[in-house]
Amino acid sequence: MTSSDPLRPSDHIDGDGGSIAQPRLDFVGWLRWGWRQLTSMRTAIILLLVLAIAAIPGSIFPQRMADPNGVTQWQTDNPDLFPVLDAMDLFDVYLSPWFSAIYLLLFISLVGCVVPRIKHHIKALQSRPPRTPARLKRLEDFRETVRETTDADADAEASRSIDIAQKQLKALGYRVERYDTAATSGRTYSVSAERGYWRETGNLIFHLALVGVLISVGLGGSFAYTGQRVVVEGQTFVNTLLDYESMNRGRFVGDDALSPYSMTLDSFDVTYQEYGSAASGQAGDFSANVTVRENGESREDAVRVNHPLDIAGDKIYLLGNGYAPTITVRNSDGDVVYSNSVPFLPQDNALTSLGVIKVTDGMPEQLGIAAFFYPSAAKLENGAYASAHGDLLAPLLTLRVYEGDLGIDEGTPKSVYVLDTEELTPIVGDGSDAPSIELQPGESADLPDGRGSITFEDESPAGAVDFTQSVKRFASLQVHHDQSAVWVLVFALSALGGLMLALFIPRRRMWVKATAADGEVRLEYAGLARGEDPTLKAAVNDLADGHARLLDAPSSRTTRK
């Protein structure tokens, strides 16, 4: 190995070999030995393979970060096994200490391996191509020609041909150096050339860029925030902490980090595949049409799938959508005690939806209502309803009503989507005397025993002829702020670029040597691959042929003295 060769770990195929020998048995000796082990190629391979294997369980078990509901489901299905696996972090694989340990070790190894190589490479970039070997013939890729010269001055001809070769190699991107010697049997002229430094540069860029990706991802998380908010048509969302349903904040995101803007959901568009077509009823082209108010100006825009909306460095995504039936409850005096458009959770593709209404004040006892909404209700054989289509073709709301203490005042947070009926008394529907209430938009029904009434409001604009606008829709939006994403991309693309350089740029040495003898010049061409280089042989041939052409070219002859 010469100094312009890239530095390699000792167990590299071109490495200096065998130096991971028995350590000196003192502390420093062991440390040094351990470090060499850690930064060896073998360790890198093993850590890579271990990383691959360690990533597998995360694809088998549901992960909290990707699929929290799946984890809850798994827990319900396997109550005994769950705690054991959970203790092993199998539901948080990618955040677990053992997974982190593997990739951190890998990156320590990487840095330990790459830093000395960078130092070495910087030096190599400044070094000159090595001396021409005495016997080029020994190299595998070698070519030789003898040119007669009529000229008595074979020596000048030899010198001239090396001048030409030098220019030729330089034009091919080689770094060149002349080594002319006065040998015993006549003078020899030679040019030594080397190319492909970008191969090592690319490799280093690649590995460093990986570190860059890791750091950007790690740091980025601390400055990022993601919030979720459900907005019903007509509602306005203000970008403050209070207005989010849930918000995940990185460590360094302060309370005042949110930019002041607001957004009104004007309408929500969906298109359905027609009846009779393939995929009949499939919904698509979702578009949440919004009015954004920012810095005192307002503009109209839309949030669509694959087309997040940019506002003040935030990205707004459309995560989901559904119906938000407007429901009004009146007490026995006819006073409105509850009126709201309630987002219902979709249960299937035809948007059968489930909703919960909690009437906390104004009634003798609190009311809890569990409701199903069917946008296109169809009665099944067993008497139950199902939705046949996602659009509002035959909207129907069915309700069960419970009475009792909803437990809202106890201070334990309760999800707005869950009604815990254990402590409640059914008064309408299953378990009570009254059958469940069924309402179409615009209809009302009385609650039993003169408690009051419940109304499913029709939201259609005046003059509507069908139900298609009778129920409001909601959009579930995600607001995401992560400035590191662009850095991750920059580093990832640098890695890709570095990789291409490292894998496709051949690194090789070339030599052309001319020896003058009586009336002839012997020309030798040789190439030496440094690492993978399948095209070397062709390159040597091309060089020799090109050289011959240049030597014969009339222009080069006329320039002779």
């Binding site: 190629m41 694809s59 991309l489």
Partner: protein
């Protein structure tokens, strides 16, 4: 108006049948190569007796030069004083080209019928993916003789495409919203290209293992040296070199797939990476091949161990393509099966 999708199905089954025939032809070719190499050995032994015990068996090492043409002119041939014409291999390749044309027609008609790129559900991934495998195989064959991989490639394509046509077929439906993106065109296409190169690398790695076993047996002067067609193939070193070159091209495509997927995920799902099942497997495959590239450059790992890594890597690719798509639950629920 003809129903283009039915036409596409007709084409695809025709293509599968032709590939199956190509497989048979290639299999005969391997058998024929065994005979050639056996004949060659007889000739060599006779020559050796004539010239005397000390004469080296000419060309006992397979070609090792970097020149592509070397692979075709094998030692057995020169011993027999004639180039074997590998008639069966030619038939196999001709059939593969024909099958390719039918499959291309099937893919294009499907795309026209669907009015979009024909790679938006599992059936279509299989169709376009295997089309690219065959395309890359044929393309490479115009420069390097790789017909000895014919059985592997046509076999793989018949199995994957046949299984897809039988159990993954879905009619044409409009795209789901998240798929309406230029990234569908780029990301999936490049992933399929990467897969094609990994497939060739894997086939070469398998042969490399067989060849290196044979070479070891020869050194040990063992009686049985494994399948005789191996004698007409390049030596293990050269097979490894070729496998490596395909693997690095595949790896670069795969790296790009990973990045393009992250960009798409950022737009469609609001985060660039979330260890969704499919993302995880793409990552696992990438890491496995990174391990392979290192192994190639590490003493004690070059040769057989690295060949095993290339095979494991491709197994993961196939696993990702089939099992993960069909059975694992995740955001990439675009197989079109339900």
């Amino acid at each position: 108006m003809p129903d283009l999708d039915s036409l596409s199905i007709l084409f695809i089954w025709t293509a599968i049948a032709i590939y199956a025939a190509a497989f048979v032809a290639y299999a005969f070719d391997l058998a024929r190569r065994s005979e050639v190499s056996a004949d060659a050995r007889l000739v060599r032994e006779r020559d050796a007796m004539l010239v005397g015990a000390g004469a080296p068996a000419a060309g006992s090492g397979a070609p090792s030069g970097a020149d592509a043409a070397d692979a075709a002119s094998d030692p057995a041939a020169s011993d027999l004083q004639k180039r074997p014409r590998y008639v069966m291999a030619r038939i196999g390749t001709a059939l593969t080209v024909l099958g390719f044309l039918f499959q291309l027609a099937a893919t294009i008609t499907r795309g026209i019928a669907a009015e979009r790129v024909p790679w938006a559900n599992l059936y279509e991934f299989a169709m376009t993916g295997t089309l690219l495998v065959v395309f890359v195989y044929l393309l490479v064959n115009t420069r390097i003789d790789l017909r000895f991989l014919g059985t592997f490639i046509t076999g793989l394509v018949v199995i994957l495409m046949g299984a897809a046509a039988i159990s993954f077929y879905v009619g044409i439906v409009p795209l789901m919203d998240p798929l309406k993106s230029v990234w569908l065109v780029i990301h999936v296409f490049v992933a399929s290209l990467g897969t094609a190169f990994f497939a060739l690398a894997c086939a070469l790695s398998v042969l490399q293992l067989m060849q290196s076993r044979r070479e070891r047996k020869i050194v040990e002067a063992a009686e049985k040296q494994g399948p005789r067609f191996l004698a007409t193939l390049p030596d293990a070193d050269r097979l490894e070199g070729m496998a490596f070159r395909f693997a690095i091209v595949g790896f670069i495509f795969w790296t790009f797939t990973l990045i393009a997927g992250a960009i798409w995920a950022q737009d469609a799902w609001g985060r660039y990476w979330g260890f969704d099942v499919k993302e995880t497997w793409t990552f696992i495959i990438w890491v496995l091949y990174a391990g392979y590239l290192h192994a190639r450059a590490t003493r004690g790992w070059r040769g057989n161990p690295s060949a095993w890594l290339s095979i494991v890597g491709f197994t993961a690719v196939i696993f990702n393509f089939t099992i993960v798509n069909v059975f694992f639950k995740g955001l990439h629920a675009y197989s079109g099966l339900s």
